[in-house]
């Protein structure tokens, strides 16, 4: 042990950890992510059937999917879906809802101001900052390259 450098130990340690089963994980992510998107598609088609226009349908679908993600988080089900489906459950908008509702529930004991409200974005915050940030940059680039046309 004494004659091992930090790097040698870290290499040794890496060999001791079982490798994740990438194929199995990908299949699970595909099934869970696909199912969530399928539900989204069904909601979308239903909304069209009720006579909403494209813009209303996009907004409505997002609202319903966020509601479902939040509801399943509150019922203690979404964390189990996340454990099974990994990125398949985290990437869709339902996962985004989960990442906001979970800390909001967790930190209620610390009060509505510094608990719920402040901690709500501990996980989703970076997504919002860099998501909105990059959309602004893309928007500016679009404006620059299409200006004067």
């Amino acid at each position: 042990m004494d004659n091992m450098t930090n790097k040698e130990y870290q290499e040794y340690l890496k060999r001791k950890i079982p490798k994740p089963d990438y194929l199995n994980n990908s299949i699970r992510a595909f099934i869970v992510g696909g199912t969530i998107c399928l539900i989204g598609q069904i909601v979308r088609n239903m909304l069209f059937r009720f006579g909403f226009n494209e813009k209303e349908v996009v907004t409505g679908t997002a609202i319903i999917m966020v509601f479902l993600g939040s509801l399943l988080t509150g019922l203690g089900i979404y964390d189990k879906i996340g454990k099974f489906g990994g990125a398949g459950a985290a990437i869709p908008i339902t996962g985004f809802a989960n990442s906001i509702v979970a800390p909001a529930m967790e930190y209620k004991r610390e009060g509505y101001l510094f608990g719920v409200a402040a901690k709500m974005f501990t996980i989703a915050g970076p997504v919002l900052v860099y998501g909105i940030g990059s959309s602004i940059i893309v928007g500016l680039l679009y404006l620059i390259f299409t200006a004067g046309r």
């Binding site: 091992m4 130990y9 340690l13 001791k16 079982p18 964390d79 996340g82 990994g86 989960n98 930190y107």
Partner: protein
């Protein structure tokens, strides 16, 4: 003249303190595990009727201390010092508990090594003649640890293979200058070992070098071999850490394959209970020591046991700043009859 010191790091007690009372309280998941029959109290509800997980943890520690004192047939007035610690910021579970117990209190932060760290200090206080009875205690709670170190409970994250499951529970030990054993005969307090592991979800791997260092030093200082012990048990190295200890100790000429295990492996059925690399947390070694090991020593199944709680001394801030995880391990020798 430090006449009780032997070798570089070990202390051999001249008047070995006796364990005269223990207690262990665990949560529902631990109560479903393989050691269920050894715990004094198994909670049905892991909040124990409290408003927060932190309050539940403090209540567990308080009840564990009271129960250990009761099991020793003493009252709180007979105890001179409380030595305890836990995982939460500023060790609040221990300090709120000490507020209720109302005796002189030493608060420790040794992360998951707290159980044997407190026993090392308690044993020195007794052997030194500074107290007749002391109580050593620690606690941890899965849900209070998760919210401090990791993610909210309902967040759908996947755990890594190397990650461990914080034990919900509390354990307390009453040490006395007078008693019929088991006795603490030797202690080998550990030094920090840090091989630059920055992954806080692989604590077994980060702490294993400290465990190996303490074990080697213990054997060197005392002249014992692993075969002198009926059981050698580390705190919460889990499956990965245990494998590393056996492997590295073999290279140093010590065969641990027969009688070495880890509290984190004993407390859960890692496959059935889905705890990945095993249990962790202050309570992991605390409830296994005060439940399983103590009771089996009383029965005579084990007469000589080396217990070594292991601690990962990082914080959520050091992890975010990319700092590595310093590991520590403190070993104590428990004997039914001092040699």
């Amino acid at each position: 003249m430090a006449v009780k010191r032997i070798g570089k790091q070990t202390i051999k007690f001249h008047n070995p303190p006796s364990i005269i009372g223990t207690s262990s309280i665990v949560g529902p998941k631990e109560g479903d595990g393989p050691l269920r029959g050894y715990f004094d109290i198994v909670l049905e509800d892991d909040t124990w009727g409290q408003k927060s997980f932190e309050k539940a943890e403090a209540k567990m520690q308080e009840e564990a201390i009271k129960l250990a004192i009761k099991n020793a047939n003493l009252s709180v007035d007979n105890i001179q010092f409380l030595i305890s610690g836990d995982l939460l910021n500023q060790i609040i579970s221990s300090s709120y508990t000490a507020r209720q117990i109302g005796i002189p209190y030493f608060g420790l932060y040794g992360a998951c090594s707290t159980m044997t760290e407190s026993l090392c200090i308690g044993a020195m206080i007794i052997d030194g003649g500074f107290a007749d009875n002391v109580v050593c205690a620690t606690s941890s709670h899965f849900s209070s640890a998760e919210r401090q170190f990791r993610f909210p409970l309902e967040y759908g994250a996947q755990r890594k293979f190397s990650s461990q499951w914080t034990v919900t529970g509390a354990g307390a030990t009453v040490l006395s200058a007078n008693g019929n054993g088991p006795y603490i005969t030797y202690i080998t307090p550990g030094r920090i070992k840090d091989y630059g592991v920055t992954d806080a979800s692989n604590m077994g791997g980060a702490m294993a070098p400290a465990a190996i260092d303490t074990l080697l030093q213990h054997f060197e200082d005392t002249g014992f071999t692993p075969q002198d012990y009926d059981l050698i048990v580390s705190g919460d190295l889990g499956l990965i850490g245990r494998r590393i200890v056996i492997d590295m100790m073999k290279k140093k000429g010590y065969d641990l394959s027969e009688n070495y295990t880890d509290c984190g492996i004993k407390i859960f059925d890692v496959v059935e209970q889905d705890t990945h690399a095993g249990g962790s947390g202050c309570a992991c070694s605390a409830v296994v020591l005060n439940g399983y090991i103590y009771k089996e020593m009383k029965k005579g199944t084990f007469n000589r046991v080396l217990v070594m709680s292991t601690g990962a001394l990082h914080s959520p801030i050091s992890t975010l700043q990319g700092e590595s995880v310093p590991g520590i391990a403190h070993a104590i020798t428990l004997e039914n009859l001092p040699r």
